[in-house]
């Protein structure tokens, strides 16, 4: 095994490509080191990307924010601009692991772990966040929703790595929220989760919404029917019922040690309802 501190994305991409799949990118390490400990992966090369310029930075761009692949959750939570614009995304990131894990874990790592239960992914999908990918063939931008291919699988080509996430600008009366269900208050993997991002019209009704669910299918799902169910409404009871029904209809979870199909489906609806109400309150407060 070798450990390399990459100095540029080009170097990291080259090392990844040369390794033939035997290299792993190290940012926060909070998934990678656990996998190494259990013997699940035995990488030939570990490529630390945190010293690459820009990786540890949050920069304003076109009214939105670009977040480097090495930025830990805690740093994101400390950034007043991101917190104001995308509180639901920050919420999701800050729910990854403990305070200790918060000091290291990254949104990109959470995305690349390709777990349907990843906490930062539903809010990124709801936010229509875009991942910047660098690889042997240069750079490309791909919506976060299109990155996961299934549990543990990514739509990345050999040698490609995600270097940043872009959270776009949004109208003034807009906000988002993320909720997950876990059996304790902290330290668990989401059993079901929901992120809702919405924009309010002048009359306070919902002009546009995006709803994403986690841990209820092979990958985080954007639920268009759920968004349609609340657009044009003020989240009256009928709209919320329709939202819950649409979310539940979109669920295709599994039974496992963390939850049952029945439970995940039922709770995903409840979380979407609650997240929608929080997002609407937040958007409304930004008069």
């Amino acid at each position: 095994m070798q450990f390399v501190t990459a100095q540029s994305t080009a170097e990291a991409a080259r090392l990844l490509a040369e390794s033939g799949g035997a290299a792993r990118v190290l940012a926060g390490g909070t998934d990678l080191l656990v996998q190494m400990k259990s013997g699940m992966v035995e990488p030939a090369t570990i490529i630390d990307i945190k010293k690459i310029p820009g990786m540890m930075e949050i920069t304003e761009e076109d009214g939105g924010y670009r977040i480097g692949a090495g930025v830990p959750g805690q740093m994101l939570g400390e950034h007043a601009g991101v917190v104001a614009l995308w509180p639901g995304v920050v919420e999701g990131c800050e729910l990854i692991g403990s305070t200790q894990v918060q000091g290291r874990c990254t949104m990109v790592g959470n995305l690349c772990n390709a777990s349907p239960a990843a906490d930062s992914v539903p809010p990124m999908v709801a936010a229509n966040a875009v991942a910047r990918i660098e690889g042997p063939d240069g750079s490309r931008d791909v919506p976060v929703a299109d990155i996961p291919a299934g549990p543990g699988k990514l739509n990345l080509k050999p040698g490609e790595l995600i270097t940043s996430i872009f959270l776009p600008a949004r109208p003034k009366r807009a906000s988002d929220a993320y909720l997950r269900f876990i059996p304790r208050t902290e330290m668990d993997i989401a059993v079901a989760s929901a992120a809702v991002s919405l924009e309010l019209a002048e009359d306070g009704s919902i002009a546009h919404a995006r709803v994403a669910l986690g841990a209820v299918g092979p990958k985080v799902a954007l639920v268009e029917d759920a968004a349609r169910a609340i657009e044009g409404t003020t989240l009256d009871d009928a709209a919320l019922d329709a939202l819950m029904a649409a979310c539940r209809a979109a669920c295709s979870p599994i039974n496992d040690k963390r939850g049952t199909v029945e439970f995940r489906t039922q709770v995903a609806g409840v979380l979407a309802k609650r997240a929608a109400l929080i997002a609407k309150d937040r958007a409304g407060e930004k008069q």
């Binding site: 095994m1 070798q2 450990f3 501190t5 190290l26 926060g28 390490g29 909070t30 080191l33 656990v34 190494m36 400990k37 259990s38 570990i46 630390d48 945190k50 830990p72 805690q74 692991g97 403990s98 305070t99 200790q100 894990v101 000091g103 290291r104 208050t185 902290e186 330290m187």
Partner: protein, 160 residues
């Protein structure tokens, strides 16, 4: 397999060590440098017994590679007391019976210190959530939360 030479600072002192690339910072601290105050309770970031700060951020040293410590500043439980004088958190843990077996104590002290540096007057709930990644199986946490509050008050110059 070649070992990596790492130069780093632990509790203000510059140190060097050699470690294999896959070795964790926890193992490097314990086995190479003799800082055995950090404990391995799980090795997967779920118990917090190995908590240290790395460049000012609280981390599980079991989820950091030793090689990543190059050029970093690390603080461990061994650096809390100054000379013969205990840190107010250490004293408060003794005075308020906030430890039983003591295996989680180093990690909790390091984590609590990191909290009080960010928030000198945390509420019970803030302490509980901040310390959620530090498992304690003996105390039920009650006396730990009280000890942190009392130490915080003392550090703010209030008499508890």
């Amino acid at each position: 397999m070649k070992k990596i030479h790492v130069t780093t600072k632990v509790n203000g002192d510059e140190v060097e060590f050699l470690c294999p690339p896959e070795e964790t910072l926890l193992d490097a601290l314990r086995d190479r440098l003799g800082f055995s105050g950090a404990k391995e309770g799980c090795g997967t970031g779920d118990c917090g017994a190995c908590s240290v700060t790395l460049n000012g951020r609280l981390v599980c040293s079991c989820l950091v590679l030793g090689a990543e410590a190059e050029g970093a500043e690390i603080s461990t439980v061994e650096g809390l007391a100054h000379g013969g004088e205990l840190h107010p958190l250490q004293q408060s843990f003794i005075d308020n019976a906030a430890l039983q077996c003591g295996i989680c104590t180093p990690g909790i002290l390091v984590a609590a210190k990191a909290l009080l540096e960010r928030n000198p007057d945390p509420s019970d709930s803030e302490i509980r959530y901040w310390l959620a990644g530090n498992l304690c199986r003996c105390t039920g946490y009650d006396k730990i939360i009280k000890a942190v509050k009392i130490a915080a008050a003392e550090m703010r110059g209030e008499t508890a």
